[in-house]
């Protein structure tokens, strides 16, 4: 899977989570905004983490060299 496809999945998960939170704990506009902020922050954090690790392995300058003991 490519970078953009997976990013799209993250986006999708984020949207679903936001809708889910909106439907399940609807407690007025102020609280909903807080929930939305939390979901967006969480998704961005998770996506960043994944994207960093994925990009770092995209064109590696070094490759795994097996240990003699293995």
């Amino acid at each position: 899977m490519g970078f953009f496809v997976t990013s799209l999945i993250f986006l999708l998960v984020g949207v679903i989570a936001a809708i889910f939170v909106r439907l399940c704990c609807n407690r007025g506009p102020s609280t909903n905004l807080l929930h939305l902020t939390l979901v967006i922050t969480a998704i961005i954090c998770c996506w960043m983490m994944w994207a960093i690790v994925y990009l770092a392995q995209l064109k590696p300058l070094i490759v795994p060299i097996l240990n003699e003991g293995d």
């Binding site: 997976t6 807080l34 960043m48 983490m49 960093i52 994925y54 990009l55 070094i62 795994p64």
Partner: protein, 822 residues
């Protein structure tokens, strides 16, 4: 100025928790007859923080000092009851919900009555107990001293007989005359007196010495240790004792000895030489002891019954007394009206609660049959209102993390909102292992599931802390499970969960794999770190480079978030100066240096370039015009670098100079206009002057002070941009330490033990592995990752926007009263 802040949200509704609740200073004029009722209803509501209007008065000068004293006295009695109950191991029954209304005065009378009764019972019991232990001692003395006399008499008669035999067997001339004289004296001999009693074992040596000196040796002390501990009648303590009998001659010696006995706390008991009398006395005393025992038991029973009746209602009384005390304490903070018919209350209250407060005032006036109702009005003030966040059980622990650094200034952007996600996330970056994450999750789930039960009972210090932060730990656990999947570590073991590894041997013999390495045959591993890296010789260089760059990227992102929040503060408080001369240059400065570094990192990854980023960054400053050569990552990089460098250089004076100069100009303008004519005073609120500047007529404006302040702020930001970015490298270090430690425990303990093919060694290995995992990785590493995440939030994130110089809203509330247990 303070009223038009609320609309600051703009397009969206105001976010919960982002800004503290809008507050107002309210005044209530309460008729004196309904004041007690009103305050106690307000305590039930718990939404007003009363201001002390009698701050100049000492506690004794206040209106309700007397009632407070009464409450204190009642609380003392209750404490006395509690002590007595713990001594008698009677425990107060849990608070019953449906308690009948107890009158304060009745309760006072009742407590007084109960106290006297209890004291009387106690003193009677004490007296009886004392007599009882005295009698016990007496028995001891009778027994031990009886033994002395018996043995003494035995040996005396034996000697006597021997002497007599001597006399009669050889009535020779050689027999000394003196001897005979002695025997003749026998009948004239002075009768020796004696004193018997008990003395504590520790003092017995000194006692003997003093006796010897005082009587110049003219005494004879006989002593015997008592095997068991004896209850001292005076102190009631169990001590080791010695029974003694002192023989003396003469009245003077007797008085001396008695005095010494008193000084040593020796209990004296009468004793007779007569063996028959002794027996009789022992019998007599034993009978008395039996009788006393019965009486004492009955007394104790009576006391226990009394304490049990107290224990039934103890908690209720305790609560009532504490409520009353807090009510009078609050009433003391209100000021008495001139007419002495009303009390005036002032306090902070959330604007949203004003209808509730008014309803309570009306209800109290009705319930207390007052003829006039209370008057409620909002006051205008320039004083900074308290900060009040409405948190729930989930958000409160996160808010406490923020509050531990500093309570937010009234209505400033609350970092707590983002802390809910970013704090567990940064923790998890350092604690990425989904095996450990699951362990944490199970621990915290235990606390969350038993939440209702645990919240009522008393916990130990550490358990209490874990329980308080259970939702923080829950988020931390979930995040570390996620980052564990990213790092592909389950107790440091990788799994090929998300597709196949991107690397494989170059040929079937796989001989190159140990020298040249594997070959990339597929696109990059789709989720997380490729499992093939684990255990390879190039694992550390790869992970180091990855985690170091990741730390910088995450750090720059979080610092940018902090700076953006300072924009929200600026726009909320309509402070354009802060937006244009602080937020904008700060954003430019940070991103032209470290934003650019982040860009370079990403470009390097995407292109697979071998450029040296250190070199690029360093020579961007040292010789920006030089050609980049092989370190060039993209076209036009040199020009971009020069532009960015220029922007960074420009943004420093931009941060430093304009703000203080503009403030000075504004001040001078205002000063001039005031000098010429009395203009409309506070129309210029929108210009973005600090709130305390806008209203005050005789404000102090010290240009040098403001300039120095701005200078410090600028230096802090510029140096901080570098040092804070470096500080985020702790993410790399801690995460590396965690994964290395868990690898060591797994390979050097578990796998090593496995290799012996011996079940005992394996069992020991598993035990050691579990202990090391729990002790080092789950406890110590959690703690250190927690502390580092805390620091990154408090310092690196919050110093970009957070003032944190507010004070907390502490309402007068009965609910808070029960929490602060003594």
């Amino acid at each position: 100025m303070s009223t038009d802040h609320r609309s600051g949200g703009g397009c969206c509704p105001p976010m919960d928790l982002m800004r503290s609740e809008p507050m107002q200073l309210v005044q209530a004029i309460i008729p004196i007859e309904s004041s007690h009722q009103t305050v106690s209803y307000l305590g039930d509501l718990g939404l007003i923080q009363f201001k002390d209007l009698n701050a100049d008065k000492s506690p004794f000068q206040r209106t309700y000092a007397n009632q407070i004293k009464r409450c204190g006295e009642m609380a003392r009695k209750l404490r006395f009851f509690r002590d007595q109950m713990t001594k008698a191991s009677v425990f107060p029954s849990a608070l019953t919900v449906a308690h009948p209304n107890v009158n304060f005065d009745d309760l006072e009378a009742k407590l007084c009555e109960l106290e006297t009764e209890l004291l009387e019972v106690n003193s009677n019991n004490g007296k009886l107990q004392r007599t009882y232990s005295e009698l016990l001692e007496y028995v001891l003395v009778l027994q031990k001293a009886g033994e002395f006399f018996y043995t003494a008499q035995d040996s005396a008669t034996a000697q006597h007989r021997q002497n007599e035999e001597n006399i009669y067997s050889d009535g020779s001339i050689e027999k000394p005359l003196l001897d005979q004289e002695m025997f003749i004296d026998h009948s004239k001999q002075v009768k020796l007196g004696f004193v018997s009693g008990l003395v504590p074992k520790g003092k017995s040596m000194a006692f003997e010495r003093i006796l010897f000196r005082a009587t110049r040796g003219n005494m004879f002390l006989k002593q015997a240790a008592v095997e068991d501990l004896v209850t001292d009648p005076v102190s009631g303590e169990e001590v080791a004792m010695i029974v003694f009998v002192v023989f003396y001659s003469g009245e003077r010696a007797k008085t001396k000895i008695l005095k010494i006995c008193d000084a040593f706390g020796a209990n004296r008991y009468p004793f007779t030489e007569d063996v028959g009398r002794q027996k009789q006395m022992i019998d007599e005393v034993s009978g008395k002891i039996k009788e006393l025992k019965v009486t004492i038991d009955a007394g104790l029973q009576h006391r226990d019954n009394l304490l049990k009746t107290i224990s039934c209602q103890f908690e209720q009384w305790n609560l009532l007394v504490r409520k009353e005390k807090s009510v009078y304490h609050t009433l003391n903070m209100l000021s008495l009206d001139v007419s002495k018919k009303c009390l005036v209350a002032e306090g902070w209250s959330p604007i949203s609660a004003s209808t509730q407060v008014q309803n309570v005032l009306q209800k109290a006036a009705k319930d207390s049959n007052s003829q006039v109702g209370s008057i409620f009005q909002v006051l205008n003030t320039n004083a900074p209102p308290p900060t009040y966040f409405q948190t729930n059980k989930f958000t409160s622990a996160f808010q406490e993390i923020v509050d531990a650094y500093g309570v937010a200034r009234y209505q400033e952007a609350n970092p707590g909102v983002f802390t809910i996600v970013t704090f567990p996330f940064l923790f998890a970056v350092m604690f990425g292992d989904w095996g450990h994450g699951i362990c944490l999750l199970l621990t915290t789930l235990y606390f969350i599931i038993r939440e209702k039960k645990l919240s009522t009972q008393k916990l130990g210090d550490i358990t209490e802390m874990i329980f308080g932060g259970r939702y923080v730990i829950l988020m931390m656990a979930i995040s570390s499970i996620y980052t564990g999947f990213i790092y592909n570590e389950f107790f440091s073991v990788p799994f090929e969960l998300f597709g196949k590894s991107a690397y494989a041997c170059s040929d079937s013999s796989c001989s190159d794999a140990y020298t040249e390495g594997l070959v990339k045959v597929r696109p990059a591993y789709s989720f997380g770190v490729d499992p093939e890296w684990h255990g390879s010789r190039s694992e550390l260089p790869f992970l180091n480079s990855l985690k170091m760059k990741m730390s910088i990227l995450l750090g720059v992102a979080q610092m940018n978030l902090g700076i953006i929040l300072s924009y929200f503060n600026g726009s909320f408080f309509r402070n354009n100066l802060n937006i244009w001369y602080q937020f904008v240059p700060q954003l430019i400065f940070l991103n032209s240096l470290f934003g650019y570094l982040s860009l370079l990192i990403i470009v390097k990854w995407c292109t697979g370039s071998k450029a040296d980023l250190y070199h690029v960054m360093i020579y961007m400053f040292l010789s920006p015009t030089d050609d980049l050569g092989e370190n060039q990552l993209f076209d036009g990089q040199k020009n971009l670098q020069m532009v960015l460098l220029l922007l960074a250089l420009v943004s420093v004076p931009w941060m430093l100079l304009p703000k203080p100069l503009i403030l000075k100009k504004q001040h001078e303008e205002r000063h001039q206009s005031q000098a010429y004519a009395m203009l409309q005073s506070s129309d210029d609120g929108a210009l973005g002057i600090e709130p305390n500047h806008a209203s005050n007529d005789h404000e102090e404006f010290e240009f040098s002070e403001i300039f120095v302040h701005q200078l410090i702020h600028t230096i802090e930001f510029v140096l901080g941009a570098v040092s804070n970015t470096a500080s985020y490298l702790r993410l790399w270090a801690l995460s590396l330490a965690h994964s290395e430690l868990s690898t060591v425990f797994y390979e050097k303990v578990l796998i090593l033990a496995w290799g012996y093919n011996n079940i005992i060694i394996l069992a020991i290995g598993i035990v050691v592995f579990i202990c090391a995992t729990i002790g080092v990785l789950l406890v110590m590493e959690t703690l250190s990752a927690f502390l580092h995440a805390l620091r990154l939030h408090w310092v690196e994130f919050q110093n970009k926007f957070y003032e944190g110089d507010g004070y907390k809203f502490v309402p007068f509330s009965f609910a808070l009263l029960t929490e602060e247990e003594e």
